[in-house]
Symmetry: C2
Subunit: 122 residues, 2 copies
DNA sequence: CAGCATCCATTCAGATACTG
DNA sequence: CAGTATCTGAATGGATGCTG
């Protein structure tokens, strides 16, 4: 009977954290934080490209030819806001902006792997 | 130099599978499969409730009071289609339907844990 | 009890055109 | 090159009312 916090019922497979009990999809829930970072079409594919290394806007557009400029810009801004990647604007002309994952962004690797594993087996 | 398949470049953190190279968000990508199963507001919270055990429609509605009947029914249908849970309609009156996770549904535990972990640390 | 049908507001993706 | 602005259509979420 050790390992069981007094006054708690067992919650199989879930962290012993008050945020595991939220009754609504609040932004403070860690699961929501991650899903918000990955939300939207194309997002995981952009992250996948950057897991392979630094990329410019054009390189990302070439790797994902069916992705429009607008949505790519949207996704990059979203991922930057989430702390997943950083912009690196190079001065001069023509302008070059490259994108690379932050340490936090690299830690999405295991998350994508978990998503992959479930979908690959089922 | 062992461990490296001939003719492949290294893809850090990504499976050595052709589906890891898709150029668009196709339904055949395992990551998309999982994200499709978890898509939509409230979905992960419904799964969380069922990770704790079998629940009826009403019990789920009580655990998530801000979730409308329509969306709850939508989510349950979506999760059933994805093979995450099974409906158990009890005959007689009043009707009772309970929901429980399939083995596959239980395997979402580690996926939610990975999402949690990233969002909790960052 | 466990839902489905209908309607409405909001969000989202994509297309097109334009710019520092 | 690397975006922004604007518009349109599709998908989504939520409210309300009805039914086997």
């Amino acid at each position: 009977m050790a390992h069981q916090t007094v006054g708690h019922v067992v919650r199989p497979g879930l962290p012993d954290d008050p945020r595991a009990d939220v009754a609504a999809p609040t932004p403070s829930c860690p699961v929501e934080v991650t899903l918000a970072a990955l939300r939207g079409r194309w997002t995981t594919l952009v992250v996948r490209e950057l897991l392979r290394g630094e990329r410019t806007f054009t390189e990302l557009a070439q790797a994902l030819p069916a992705l429009s400029d607008k949505v790519l810009a949207d996704r990059l801004a979203q991922l930057a806001r989430s702390g997943v990647l950083v912009r690196d604007r190079r001065p001069g002309f023509p302008p070059r902006t490259s994108y690379r994952l932050t340490p936090q962004g690299h830690r999405l690797g295991p998350v994508l792997q978990a998503l992959w594993d479930w979908g690959a087996e089922g």
